[in-house]
Amino acid sequence: MTEHLVETKGLTKRYGERVAVEDLALTVRRGEVYGFLGPNGAGKTTTLKILLGLVRPTSGTATVLGAAPGSAKSLAGTGMLVESPAFYPYLSGRDNLRVLAQYCRIPATRVTEVLEIVGLSARAGDRFASYSLGMKQRLGVAAALLKDPVLLVLDEPTNGLDPAGMADMRALIRRLGGDGKTVLLSSHMLGEVQQVCDRVGVISGGRLLREGTVDELRGQGAVRVTVEPLDEAATIARRLLGEDRVTIEDQSLVLDTDQDDAARINRELVLAGLTVRALGWNERSLEEIFLEMTSEERRFATAGAGSGV
């Protein structure tokens, strides 16, 4: 049976009339990199804060590492970087980590280790205030790693980084996932999630819209064939695949089938004397799926606002 390190049921957080998180049910399995995807203001950070015990839910339940959020047991195995990295500007990077290490009873040798992991050893003695944004973010990840946690909660860790810094951060997250750590990564960057995550939960307006692997969310792709004459090709394709699996878009056939069928269809079209100019796999990106899902949510919200709800 798959072990769930994070599990929420009916999780809801209201601030007065405003609903930040609504009836959220998500699961993070041991050893996976879970992408928590949603536009800004979707409720990602509020959810993460509930999971860390910083914010209490209005209703619903959550367990983290089998215990209540914020309990000593759940925090002992959880490392976190929520929102921007928060440190004391007058302390050095090393001293900032020493403060946290003392709070969680971790030997000072671990501070040196995590500084090494994130590549900050050379600047560890400098004041935090003098760090670049990328260095601050890396120090935040170092702090999250201090406890050698089972679960890492990272809230938009590439925020504000330059392309090289983003690539470094993603490589680090992939490496941590490869090392067996479970990572809960919140992001509004689709490419990032697609690159590093095993499973994804899409949140918008405080509600979880879908949860699954990237492939599951993308669904099955389609074969796009540019062929002449188009009508005759459509007839052949419909005979082979069925009426409802063939559509015509932008002067091409779009066939709802898998890549293995592509060669067979190509052969049949050529044998029928048609001219096949191009044949390719038409895969929907996570971005398209995401926009599709969240646009429905936005339409719903707009309609609600319009009707005075």
Binding site: Y90, L91, L100
Partner: protein, 279 residues
């Protein structure tokens, strides 16, 4: 609690603002406790000579306790409050509170570690203040050829304990305000206005407004001033007396009231941190 204590000590020790405030504290104590009385003694002539001599007496070793604690109810108290505000309010300003609370020791332990570190800092500053004041009194006695009589050990211990009680009360009051207002600016502003202005105004009106006299006997500033008076500091009504030092209540009641305020501020701060969400 001790785990948080070590971390809090590290933060206080390395924070430049803490050193600056302590330096100002000591400097003010020296200037108003020793330099100005000495200058008054040197420059007072004619009918003012008696006042000059009286000022000098306060700067001699025999009056060490009264002189050392005379500034605690007001200016040193305000600085102690500022230290408390910075220690807790800064955590919200830098958003570091969430980092502390997710390390695992528990919310009350975090507050307890912080309170213990501040209480220790106050003891250290009071001891330093007494040591510097003692040195200044020796210098004053030497250059004025005055007697070098020292207060008894029990008086000295009582003075240090009383002084520590006064500034600890203000410091934890500031720490509570920093948590209550989740920042430094508003907490420092309200705290300082209370300590430096409002209580003095209440004292002025207490003789006129019915019931106010009773209320002010339980206020923190009044009790801080009363404890300083009980330890030998000149009251504000006496010639050359110290602002904020009064005899509104007795020393024992003042000591007990200040101790209760310390407990109240620590408990209230813990309750707030335990119950509130960290935004």
């Amino acid at each position: 609690m001790l785990v948080g204590f070590a971390a809090e000590v590290l933060k206080l020790r390395k924070r430049p603002a803490v050193w600056m405030i302590v330096a100002v504290w000591i400097m003010l104590a020296v200037v108003f406790g020793y330099l100005f009385p000495y200058l008054a003694y040197r420059s007072a002539t004619g009918p003012k000579a008696a006042l000059g001599k009286q000022a000098l007496v306060q700067a001699l070793p025999a009056d060490l306790v009264g002189t050392a604690v005379q500034g605690f109810p007001l200016f040193a108290g305000a600085l102690a409050m500022l230290l408390g505000v910075l220690a807790t309010g800064g955590e919200y300003g830098w958003n570091t509170m969430k980092a502390l609370l997710t390390q695992g020791p528990g919310r009350v332990s975090v507050v307890a570690g912080k309170a213990l570190a501040l209480v220790s800092l106050m003891l250290l500053v009071v001891l330093t203040s007494f040591a510097v004041d003692a040195l200044c009194s020796v210098v004053t006695a030497s250059i004025t050829d005055s007697a070098m009589d020292w207060p008894g050990v029990s008086d000295l211990v009582r003075g240090i304990a009383g002084g520590w009680l006064i500034v600890t009360m203000w410091c934890l009051g500031g720490a509570f305000l920093g948590i209550a207002f989740r920042g430094t600016a508003l907490a420092a502003g309200i705290g300082l206005v209370w300590a430096l202005a409002i209580e003095n105004l209440l004292r002025v009106f207490s003789s006129i407004v019915s019931g106010l006299d009773t209320v002010q006997k339980y206020l923190p500033g009044t009790n801080a001033g009363a404890l300083a008076a009980a330890l030998g500091s000149p009251t504000q009504s006496a010639p050359g007396g110290t602002p904020g030092v009064t005899t509104a209540v007795g020393g024992t009641q003042a000591g007990i009231t200040l101790a209760l305020y310390i407990v109240l501020f620590a408990v209230a701060a813990s309750v707030l941190v335990k119950r509130r969400d960290i935004a």
